[in-house]
Amino acid sequence: MSVLEAKMVTKQYQMGEVTVQALAEVDFAVAKGDFVAVMGPSGSGKSTLLHLLGGLDEPTSGEITLAGRPISRLSDDEVTIVRRRKVGFIFQFFNLVPTLSAAENVALPLLIDGRNIKEEQQKIINLLEMVGLGERADHKPDQLSGGQQQRVAIARAFVNDPEIVLADEPTGNLDSKSGTAVLNLLRQFCRELQQTIVMVTHDPRAASFANKVVFLKDGNIIQELPIAHNDGHEEDIRAIMRVMRELEL
């Protein structure tokens, strides 16, 4: 059963006279509890796909269904409500509100939804502890390291029990140690809480944390690779790199 489904999705950008085809009739589905990595060369349409899946942008044609709702046909306000309740985002640049503490940043989606924050306090504490920042709840973003900021962002992405979490290069701005911590967290959310995650990345090592890797080129999905997780990461990384070489990515 897929949580998220894209059918024949095309995205074109009009740049004056020139039409840029970012996605060409892409079919894509994510099953509940899946952790999918999207890979591909720069300009292949990874971010575009992610934006469309999260309802941040509209496809030129095709249909996207998220948690049973045809988001490509909803009004802006309706899509916004879907994002608010069903989607979590993790950005490359963390995008925390600098004026709010870590805990407050995590609580933000609930606040926006008009929920009573008092009743949700325990959940927020739990989340912060899960990402290893139980002691930093009161810190402002500028008092946290990049890795810590991204972990706050992860807690924020999961606070509304989303149907799906979308992450664009979540480790792109982090050193490898912090990156690993973030990836482990994502994996943990996926395994323990049956959360569904789609993550865009350049990095074969990051992709090896997923259950499946989807390869994009020139706006087309050209290959899918399941990850075995048998002999540790090194084996999986080699498998991913092999596919990349075959596809001349």
């Binding site: 941040l56 916004t80 640049f93 509100v97 004026t99 407050e104 606040l111 926006i112």
Partner: protein
């Protein structure tokens, strides 16, 4: 246990609060716009009201317990004592207190006496000494005398005994038991014996305390007015006094009974005439205070638009995680509301402080001391409401802009906000708006009632139009300025000056804020200069004469012959001012001054600038024939009068019709309605033959000091003549107009302050937004000093542009003000270009912009390279 209190919010309000708190520099700047705007409004409003309040409470206090006052319809004249008995017989009247005033000067000061003018055209209180004769027995029912020393005169007193006001006596060093000499019309200097002192309160505040009280009969004797009084103060039965309708009925009844030569008034209504004479002036002040608020709203808009730019990424993230457009918009408006509320409350406080200062200026020239500044709570509440509303309205566009931010902005490294199409909008609407408003201001005939509201709104529309024109012109002007900036700031200057094209909206509004400030200064100076120039011109040509001969007492007409007998004197003409009431064909009636001139000699000394009517020679001929007057263009405008219309004047012989023979350019009365008629009519209808002023023309070679000495000390020995040269008179007028316009200068200054704040805001914003870029430049080897110079160059470009636009718009504004002065006050003036003000304003704009950029420039130079390039 883990601390659970870490989440301190439960509503989106917290986001707003945190934002205001964390970005406190911005918050403060935005708030200053509101504070200054609301403050100016409150200050002007409070000052105006306090002035009126002071005027009416002055008349209240001086009135004591009296409920009604009987005076001659032509105020200041006398009437027979037998009226007292007629009034006493009226049922409901409990007490009648008569009084008479002899206006004079202490003999010791006669030589230094000078006529003091006030903006309302009347004399400044306290310039002359008032000897008031009272019936002290009847007075017990009306006034309480707070005697601090000695005793009061008795009702039977026949010796020349007087009571002075304590402060005045102390000022002059006079003690009880000593003599005090005053001038009298009959007997020259007369010694009065000071028998007591009263406090400066109640009746003691009359004429600012420059007052002596003697027995009625004594004053009547000294001033040749036996059997005459000026005024009766009446105390009415309590029940009637407490009931406004019954009091008014009694007043009308008495008024009818006493005939047209006398009027019956409530004490408070005497203050109204004085208050009315300040009307145009107060209207002008109100207008400027609204302009200040308007400029303030520019600043507010600018600041909000900037925070939106700055927070684009953050807003994009909010949208991505599920905030609707509406929620975003509401959040921005909430922020505006909060700032507006705080700013307005502080603004009210600032306004009240400023009002103290303005009240002092008003006191200095209006002839009314405004000691206490009192604010009406509902007015303050209204000011807060207006401040709040203006802030929210100013934030509407930024709120819409914020709501339009795409969630994708959150994912960009460098967020870029669509700045809107300033240039396109400007091209489309800017010139059109200006053209339309000019059309309204100059071509559409407006009814007087709507002139002020329509006119001031048109000026606002024009301000908007001018603002819209700015983005069209910034690029070409920047290009023109570049060589100069390069000269001043070197290569950094090139970088800085071209930066102003980056954020068009921001540049536009900053230039606009400066423009409004500068244009207010230039406009005000233009108006002041035109006013002064035309008055001086009028003094020169129309008023004519080289000398004015006056006296603290009125003079006998035969002085004319004695003046003419002097070899240096080539011509003399006499004039006399007398108070009257004017009834216009439209049914308006108001206090006025009848200025009687001598048609036979007037043109020998003075000239007339006729705007509508016969040539001067013919005009004086018509006045000589009688029952004709001329009026100034201001009066004609005010009462909608045309040549050959008829107005009615109150005279001693009752109400008489007078034909308008001509409309002339005349500033004689200041803001008080003045009509000019003939000497003959003065004698016939007012029964007056003495003279207020002789205008004297001298032979070209005459020596001014010598002739002054001859007139004052030979002819004038016993007549107490005072000579004033035209130069002295001109200086006096100049000082008066400078004082009157100084209030406007304060408001212009406020406009400049707001403009400066706008520059700080913009430059700071530019610096914050470009932290990364600045870090990059530093890493490439730009020194801190170079960074500072670059920022300053940018500010200088903005300053020069603000100056250019401000001067251009100010010139238009000055002309519009003159049109407004003509429409509202009836002054017909020719526009003078205030070159000094323009040059100074220009320098001010530049210096202000540079000064305002000092802090941002310093901030820019402190940018930490590592952090800046890491800064996301």
């Amino acid at each position: 246990m883990f601390q659970l209190g870490f989440i301190r919010f439960n509503s989106p309000l917290i986001l707003v609060f945190r934002n205001l708190w964390t970005r406190w520099v911005r918050t403060l700047l935005t708030m200053t716009g509101i504070i200054v705007g609301v403050g100016a409004m409150v200050a002007v409003n409070t000052t105006n009201k306090s002035t009126i309040q002071a005027i009416s409470s002055f008349f209240d206090e001086a009135a004591g317990r009296s409920d009604l006052i009987v005076e001659t319809a032509v105020s200041g004249e006398t009437f027979a004592t037998d009226t007292i008995n007629r009034v006493r017989r009226v049922p409901g009247i409990l007490a009648v207190a008569p009084s008479i005033v002899g206006v004079t000067v202490p003999a010791a000061e006669a030589a230094q006496w000078e006529q003091q003018l006030s903006i309302s055209g009347g004399a400044v209180p306290g310039t002359s000494f008032w000897l008031m004769g009272r019936d002290l027995e009847a007075d017990t029912a009306v006034h309480e005398y707070n005697l601090s020393e000695g005793r009061l005169p008795t009702a039977a007193e026949t010796s020349y005994n007087v009571v002075l006001v304590e402060d005045y006596a102390a000022d002059k060093g006079i003690e009880v038991g000593e003599d005090f000499a005053i001038l009298t019309p009959g007997a020259g200097a007369v010694n009065l014996r000071v028998i007591g002192l009263i406090a400066k309160e109640g009746i003691g505040i009359t004429n600012d305390g420059v007052l002596g009280i003697a027995n009625l009969a004594v004053v009547q004797e000294l001033f040749n007015l036996t059997g005459e009084v000026n005024q009766l103060e009446l105390v009415v039965d309590e029940d009637i006094a407490a009931d406004t309708d019954r009091l008014e009925a009694l007043r009308t009844e008495l008024d009818d009974q006493l005939g047209t030569s006398l009027t019956v008034k409530r004490p408070a209504s005497r203050g109204e005439a004085v208050a009315n004479s300040l009307g145009t002036y107060q209207l002008g002040l109100n207008f400027f205070s609204v302009v200040s608020l308007f400029v303030g709203s520019f600043l507010i808009y600018n600041a909000f638009a900037m925070t939106i730019v700055e927070r684009t990424r953050e807003i994009g993230m909010f949208r991505a995680i599920g905030m609707t457009r509406r929620q975003i918009g509401v959040m921005v408006l909430l922020e505006a509301g909060m700032l507006g509320l705080f700013g307005s409350v502080i603004g009210v406080g600032f306004g009240l402080l400023l009002a103290q200062f303005l009240a002092r200026i008003v006191s200095s020239f209006s002839g009314q001391t405004v000691e206490q500044v009192t604010a009406v709570p509902t007015d303050l509440a209204q000011a807060i409401a207006i401040g709040l509303a203006v802030t929210i309205v100013a934030a509407i566009l930024p709120a819409i802009q914020a709501a339009r931010v795409s969630p994708l902005q959150a994912l960009r490294i460098q967020a870029n906000l669509d700045e809107g199409r300033w240039q396109e909008t400007g091209l489309r609407f800017g010139p059109l708006t200006i053209f339309a408003t000019l059309l309204i201001l100059y071509q559409v005939p407006l009814r007087p009632a709507v002139t002020f509201p329509v006119g001031s709104n048109a000026i606002f529309a024009m301000l908007l139009g001018a603002t819209l024109c700015i983005p069209i012109l910034t690029k070409p002007i920047e290009r023109l300025l570049r060589p100069f900036i390069l000269l001043l700031f070197g290569n950094e200057g090139r970088l800085g000056s071209s930066n102003i094209n980056r954020a068009q909206g921001r540049t536009t509004l900053t230039v606009a804020a400066l423009m409004v400030g500068i244009s207010m200064v230039v406009g005000i100076e233009g108006m002041t200069l035109s006013f002064e120039t035309d008055i001086m011109d009028w003094v020169d040509t129309a008023l004519g004469g080289d000398l004015f001969v006056r006296s603290p007492l009125q003079m006998r007409p035969d002085v004319e012959a004695r003046l003419l007998a002097l070899p240096e004197v080539t011509a003399v003409t006499k004039s006399r001012y007398i108070a009257t009431r004017l009834f216009s064909p439209d049914g308006e009636d108001e206090y006025a001054i009848f200025n009687a001139i001598d048609p036979a000699t007037y043109l020998n000394v003075a000239s007339i600038r006729v705007q509508d009517g016969p040539a001067p020679a013919e005009l004086v001929q018509q006045l000589a024939t009688g029952d004709a007057i001329w009026v100034g263009a201001d009066v004609a405008q005010k009462y909608n009068l045309h040549v050959n219309d008829e107005v009615v004047l109150e005279t001693r012989r009752g109400r008489r019709p007078f034909r308008i023979a001509a409309i002339v350019i005349d500033f004689a009365g200041g803001e008080t309605t003045t009509v000019t008629g003939s000497w003959n009519d003065l004698r016939r209808y007012f029964g007056v033959t003495d003279v207020s002023t002789f205008l004297v023309r001298l032979a070209p070679a005459a020596s001014l000091p010598a002739i002054t000495d001859t007139i004052e000390n030979d002819i004038g020995r016993n007549l107490n003549l005072i000579v004033e040269s035209k130069q002295e008179f001109e200086d006096k007028m100049r000082t008066l107009s400078a004082q009157a316009f100084s209030l406007f200068d304060v408001l212009g200054l406020i406009g400049l302050v707001v403009g400066g704040l706008g520059v700080i805001n913009t430059m700071l914003m530019n610096v914050l937004e470009r932290t990364r870029e600045l870090g990059g430049l530093r890493s490439l080897g730009m020194t801190r000093r170079q960074v500072r110079r670059m920022i300053l160059a940018e500010a200088a470009t903005i300053g020069v542009m603000g100056g250019l636009f401000g001067v251009a718009f100010g010139a238009v504004l000055a002309d519009v003000f003159l049109v407004g002065l003509r429409a509202v006050g009836g002054f017909v003036l020719n526009l003078q270009t205030p070159y000094t003000a323009i040059a100074v304003s220009f320098v001010i704009a530049l210096v202000l912009a540079l000064a305002a950029a000092l802090y941002p420039a310093w901030r820019a130079s402190q940018v930490n390279i590592i952090q800046a390039i890491k800064n996301e």
